[in-house]
Amino acid sequence: MEASAIIDILQPLVPGAVFEPGRSVDFATIYVPGDRLVETCRALHDTPALDFNVLAEVTAADYLPREPRYEVVYHLLSVSKRLRLRVKVRVPSDGSLPSVQSVWKGAGWPEREVWDMFGIIFDDHGDLRRLLMPEDWEGHPARKDYPVQIRKATQTYEPLEVSEEEFKANIQRDRVKRTAH
């Protein structure tokens, strides 16, 4: 199905939104305004003529220095209609997006990954924590202005120092515990 045909179906369901067909070599691509994303996804999911019941993945690309800087990409799949669609949302460098978890439950982790890697905030996500990177990591590695070869001080913890007397006392304490009953 062509992108223009999908837009024709969508337009009356999401009145006032400006959809834009995108260039692609594989399957239809449409650009959706970020503030109408959830409505649009709900329509794509619920309309029987489209029936996009699977969200294959969510990802993003950083087009620094272009502005709007990011494109968040949703790959949708309609099993019943044997159809694929790429939904793209342009996001400025300080922008945010609504979460589409209310439409597809499986959007939670992919959105977390996009935040982890690109720092794009998904409002009302509810669980926007680090997913692949460690919890105390700074920065978002997939951004184009993030250095590739990064030198980071190794994180260590204070070595556990136990004197010989303490060690022996611990052993004795454990032995008493074991034989107490």
């Binding site: 692609s24 070599v25 019941n53 294959a56 950083d62 099993v79 439950k105 499986g106 939670g108 692949l132």
Partner: protein, 393 residues
């Protein structure tokens, strides 16, 4: 009488646990043996392959992506190669497509053998692992034959294959394909009607088709719940539409159904591989004829100036890919294995992203095992066939 303790207990399972298939960590909240909640923690195997790929030339990414899903290595590189070829507008010769189909199916068999061995071992049939590994060894030998590398052959290249098939390839593949169905019968005699195995798997970790789709699960997990979605049938690539095979399905959606679906898939893979090997001539073309991408043959490099220049251009500067983006899904061993590539028109990819089936499967595990037993959790993880290299990338 002492008071009965009623609070729940929090237990760490993994990251170094034999049944977590690598380094998956699950924080379990337990009420006795019953799971109240699960919180998976992933990322222990995150190696930043997608970021590294942006620094490499197009053809240098192939060995990188093979290290993502290390059990189904060549399905990664197949997805990536198909994606870049689509952007370049390359058409592959029939023989290359047939060899790719054969490799993809052998890769599926190798991956499913590891799944079968580890899954059965975790449920208690330890001997199954040795039988499965023994058969996989023969498949690794075939990898060694074609590329000299057993795990990550990097035999599939952009624009075709690395080189022609070696002598003895047909004999090795035919020998394996003749031997394997009887081994499958042996495996099934051990497990399919095994009372202990069935009691551990039937009715455990069931997921409905609607929920599987909601969680983005496509592949063997969805097919065990009644879906007939298979990328090879729905969006054929490499000429899969010309092969005669069926898509095995089940309706129960539980661990045992996933086992039956994967076992039937292995038999179908043998059938496809037999069809493919009968189509492949022992010698012939192994790449397309596009000189931008495919390096000229070595004898020409030494005798012709143009070929020498072309050789140097490809290996020093690489080739460029038109501006745009492309997503190509293939049916990997674990489900839809997609590759999304963005090009800015230069000799390096702007962005490479793999759609990881294990990533989506682990996301759904807390939902599937809610209110089940810890022992069932082990069965469920085994049946989803997650690979942490695929999940964390």
């Amino acid at each position: 009488m002492a008071e009965i303790k009623t609070e729940t207990m929090t237990v760490n399972m993994g990251p170094q646990h034999p049944s977590t298939h690598g380094v998956l960590r699950l924080v379990l909240e337990l009420d006795g043996e019953v799971i109240q909640s699960v919180m998976p923690t992933i990322g222990y195997l995150h190696t930043g392959i997608e970021k590294t790929a942006e620094q490499k030339k197009w053809q240098q990414v192939i060995p990188l992506v093979e290290r993502m899903d290390y059990l189904g290595a060549q399905s990664n590189s197949l997805a990536y190669a198909l994606c870049v070829e689509r952007m370049l507008g390359l058409e592959m010769p029939q023989r290359v497509q047939d060899i790719r189909v054969l490799i993809a199916e052998l890769q599926r068999l190798a991956s499913h053998l590891i799944w079968l061995g580890t899954h059965a071992m975790e449920i208690g049939a330890v001997s199954m692992l040795f039988y499965a590994i023994r058969e996989r060894e023969l498949l690794l030998n075939i990898n060694e034959l074609i590329a000299g590398f057993r795990f990550f052959p990097s035999y599939i290249r952009i624009g075709g294959l690395r080189e022609d098939l070696p002598r003895g390839f047909h004999e090795a593949v035919n020998e394996f394909l003749d031997r394997f169905p009887t081994k499958m019968d042996e495996f099934e005699r051990l497990l399919t009607k095994n009372d202990i195995f069935r009691r551990r798997t039937e009715g455990v970790g069931a997921i409905s088709l609607e929920n599987a789709y909601q969680w983005g699960l496509v592949g063997p997990i969805a097919r065990a719940a009644g879906s007939d979605y298979d990328v090879r049938k729905y969006f054929p690539y490499c000429g899969y539409e010309s092969y005669d095979f069926t898509v095995p399905t089940a309706t129960e959606g539980d661990v045992y159904a996933r086992y039956r679906v994967r076992i039937a898939e292995m038999r179908q893979s043998v059938s496809i591989a037999k069809q493919a090997i009968s189509r492949i001539s022992p010698a012939g073309v192994w790449a397309c004829d596009d000189t931008r991408v495919v390096p000229p043959p070595k004898d020409k490099v030494y005798t012709e100036m143009e070929a020498l220049i072309q050789h140097f251009l490809i290996y020093s500067q690489g080739f460029t890919v038109p501006v745009g983006d492309c997503y190509v899904p293939i049916e990997g061993p674990r489900g839809e294995h997609g590759c999304y590539v963005v090009s800015d028109g230069s000799n390096r990819p702007w962005r490479v992203k793999m759609r990881a089936p294990s990533f989506m499967a682990i996301q759904a595990i807390p939902y599937v095992v809610q209110n089940g037993l810890i022992a069932d959790l082990v069965a469920v993880i085994g049946s989803t066939d997650v690979v942490m290299g695929d999940c964390d990338r």
